[in-house]
Subunit: 336 residues, 2 copies
């Protein structure tokens, strides 16, 4: 491996000077600089990031700790995050939680020894914070920046950049009500998901704001995961039980797709018999038939917001930590 020493020798200078040229923070004679640059070129030298990291105490990578990269808009999130981080010369380590809390603790503990600069936590999973707070605290004390992007953890002193799930759900309900689609069912309140919870809260708040009755039998909890099959099952059961509803707000696009399939399988017409609104803004939703109306998340804006926050944080001063809201947008298609 070509090292600073080799470059220095070739340029007839000391390793320190090579380092100075590389850093660009300390003045170097134009002539020396040119010789060093030339040597670097000739030798095809590349600074060793690992050595730099060891020296500096921390490196140039962040971990994206994600609930389930396979689901929903998480792929898009990963893509956007990687792109934005790279713009700042940062690398992205991917760590899939598979929704297991012990895995989160594990990566928190490993972060400092990996030289990670920070940790982007994208899990909607409601965690046992008593068990986790010490791990978070320890990481922050070691200089790890933590930003939560799926649930608001600002109360714990963790900077959060989350979508306006509540507002998004409200907008959806407003729309559904405006087009006379009450009663409205909600699918996807999951006891373990902060996102499911927030979207449900928006649903309930909006009903209340409009003076609409809240009917618990129209809220369909699902055990876990916002998968299409859960939506299918919930809707099928509701239909079997003869529940009366004219529309469904789903906590995810996948869920909504499952719901729509269930309605379609019973020969129901969408949106005439039942209207459906999804949540997420999956590209594929536009190709469901009918095309799905959905509350679209702006993951690109979120990624940019997260990156602009990096380095800015006042480490974990629990009181003042803010939660930044990323606006959502109702995309009207034909399902509602």
């Amino acid at each position: 491996m070509v090292s600073v020493v080799a470059v220095a020798r070739r340029a007839g200078v000391s390793p320190a000077t090579v380092s100075r040229v590389l850093g660009g923070r300390v003045p170097v004679t134009a002539d020396t600089r040119a010789r060093v640059l030339e040597a670097i070129e000739e030798l095809g030298y590349r600074p060793n990031e690992v050595a730099r990291t060891l020296r500096a105490g921390r490196g140039r990578s962040l971990a994206l700790v994600i609930g389930d990269i396979q689901q929903g808009v998480n792929g898009t999130l990963a893509k956007n995050m990687q792109r934005e981080l790279e713009r700042q010369g940062l690398d992205l380590l991917l760590f899939d939680l598979d929704h297991r809390q012990d895995r989160l603790r594990h990566i928190l503990e490993r972060a400092p020894s990996l030289g990670l600069r920070g940790l982007l936590l994208s899990s909607p999973h409601i965690m046992d914070m008593n068990a986790l707070v010490p791990a978070f605290r320890a990481a922050v004390e070691r200089g790890i920046e933590i930003i939560s992007v799926s649930q608001d953890l600002s109360a714990l002193g963790i900077t959060s950049v989350v979508h306006d799930d509540l507002g998004g759900a409200r907008t959806a309900i407003d729309h559904l009500l405006a087009r006379q689609s009450a009663p409205i069912a909600f699918v996807g309140r999951v006891s373990t998901s902060a996102i499911g919870r927030a979207r449900f809260d928006g649903y309930r708040d909006a009903l209340r704001a409009h003076g609409q009755p809240f009917d618990p039998s129209l809220v369909w909890d699902i055990s876990e995961g916002f998968r299409a099959d859960a939506g299918y099952r919930a809707t099928s059961e509701a239909l079997d039980r003869g529940l009366r509803f004219r529309s469904v707000l789903a906590a995810s696009d996948e869920l909504a797709l499952g719901c729509m399939a269930a309605a379609a399988d019973r020969g129901l017409s969408i949106p005439a018999d039942i209207a459906f609104v999804g949540f997420g803004g999956l590209g594929l939703a536009a190709f469901a038939r009918p095309p799905m109306t959905t509350v679209a998340l702006d993951v690109d804006a979120q990624a940019r917001a997260v990156c602009s926050l990096l380095g800015t944080q006042q480490n974990g001063s629990a009181g003042s930590t803010r939660c930044h809201l990323v606006p959502t947008q109702l995309v009207l298609r034909q399902s509602a």
Copy 2:
């Protein structure tokens, strides 16, 4: 940061001994060992991966270099790869190519200085190998293991673990022919995609094997990306032009979804009027209406195969490098 030195002091031994206990490869007295372990426990010591990496010359992470994490089964691929790598104590660095070849060269050049152990290349993009081969070679010489998982690059001395795209397409055609769905169209031959090419080859070969005519007007190229809108457009145009076909094999599930939407929008019945087969095995495909028949990829098997190959490779001995084929499976649903 708690270091070996601190642990050593506490246990009353030398740093070397601590290291030996950690490594477990060199015999240590049971007593000493116990004292060291205790000190580690008390201090909450964690070995610094960065220092280890610097010392060893390479670390414990691989890069997953992916064409577009947002598309198709790539999310599933990332998830499975991360899980399997972690089983071997390896971390996964995510690098999204956005289908740009210069980005691949870039990461190849950076790999050694990042201490990467290897590079999992998942891009179907057909690249200018003249421009890339030197970069590949340089990386391999520096000890980077490279495995290609989306296209067969064994001719270049790069171990490849790819799905049996050709066989999968053949099976789909066999099925379509058996159910009297000729003529069969193919959508998704992309000039820049090795995957699109391989699946197309399977389509053409199977037609030939069955003595079916090959009609070029039934092969719909798309400019790039296996997105649903491309499928929608291609199918719409074909229908507008009055082309005669009874079924469509798509090079991806997204594409197929777009195709089905186009047919549905014209009031065509699926599969009675036109049958559709997708490629990939996206979970969502089961909730299209009608449910989509698709050639499912076994990404889990692929990830396991890749990991079992790590460390096994005889670095880039161009002649003998093998291409491992992962079988696909036709999942019959109602669209064909």
